[in-house]
Symmetry: C2
DNA sequence: GATCATAATGAGAGTAGGTATCATTCGCAC
DNA sequence: GTGCGAATGATACCTACTCTCATTATGATC
């Protein structure tokens, strides 16, 4: 909302817009008003959001355009799509725009929360994954490490 | 295909059926002929499969019943649903029926391959996740650690 | 083994998240 | 300002999946 920094993002808001603009330009996309509003809606949420979340928080945006632009942003490496099953896909900023992190996925309500692990663990995970990937002739791009369980709201049932 | 053991599964085929039967019974479900054929189709595949995979490999099974029974098997803890985005969901046996493992997910063709990491790394991952989960009031059930990239077939393009 | 209550089946209709279409509008280069 | 290609948005469409319901199978009891 203000210029104060969220600890999760390594970029200031204006740097974020600059980075998004650069990435879009690199793929011959324009950073239009609608796309800027979309980026700001995702930023304002501060956590992974669904299409309904976005449309509700930014009522001027047409759903069809939001779907198309989320796809454009994903192709450009601006956002990541998180498909946790069930209902809608979730979207959040991709890695260099948001620090590397993981998710607490609630199996009851489907909500997704970001969490951060220490670098040492990340390094050993990457090392191990690179090893098994190499064995399978697989070219690694990124890993996803998510914890599935019940969020504080849904209780331990 | 035969009675020889796949290193990925800790159970023999007959033990698998017994375990499935037990889990279904525990949820007041019957282990019918159709469900047995479904379990055998997943077993024969030896890797995560989609609904079309199953229907093609076991043509007698009606899609609507397969969908329903995959849901029953999932509720009973027999299979896990893997939603990697894109098209169909993938299914494979759940943890105690299949050794704990992770996935190489191809971002091009969507194929999913199982890989196994050493226990020490798994333990430190669980430890770290339990820590951040506790901080968020989150009750952990299981973790998913998948590597996204390009499979040997799709190349490093 | 026959009976019976109940669960499972399967064909088809229905739902929902997401995509494609296309006429209109906008953005940027000149 | 003009012109051209890209972006927009309303709507139609697609498809993965679920629901419905009449029929059939299952297994517990006798």
């Amino acid at each position: 909302m203000t210029s104060s920094r969220d600890t999760k993002s390594p970029l200031s808001t204006s740097d974020l817009h600059a980075a998004v603009s650069l990435r879009l330009a690199h793929h011959d996309y324009r950073y239009t008003r609608g796309r800027r509003r979309l980026v700001e809606a995702i930023l304002a949420a501060g956590q992974p959001v669904t299409l309904p979340d976005i449309v509700v928080s930014a009522p001027g945006l047409a759903p069809s355009s939001v779907y198309r632009n989320l796809d454009v942003l994903e192709r450009s490496g601006v956002v990541n799509r998180i498909t946790a099953g069930g209902g809608h896909a979730y979207f959040e900023f991709a890695e260099p725009l948001l620090s590397h992190h993981h998710h607490l996925v609630c199996v009851d309500c489907g909500s997704i929360e970001d969490v951060f692990l220490d670098d040492e663990l990340e390094a050993s995970v990457d090392r191990s994954l690179a090893e098994v990937a190499g064995r399978a002739g697989f070219t690694p791009l990124r890993h996803s490490l998510d914890l599935h369980g019940r969020c504080a709201g849904c209780g331990s049932g």
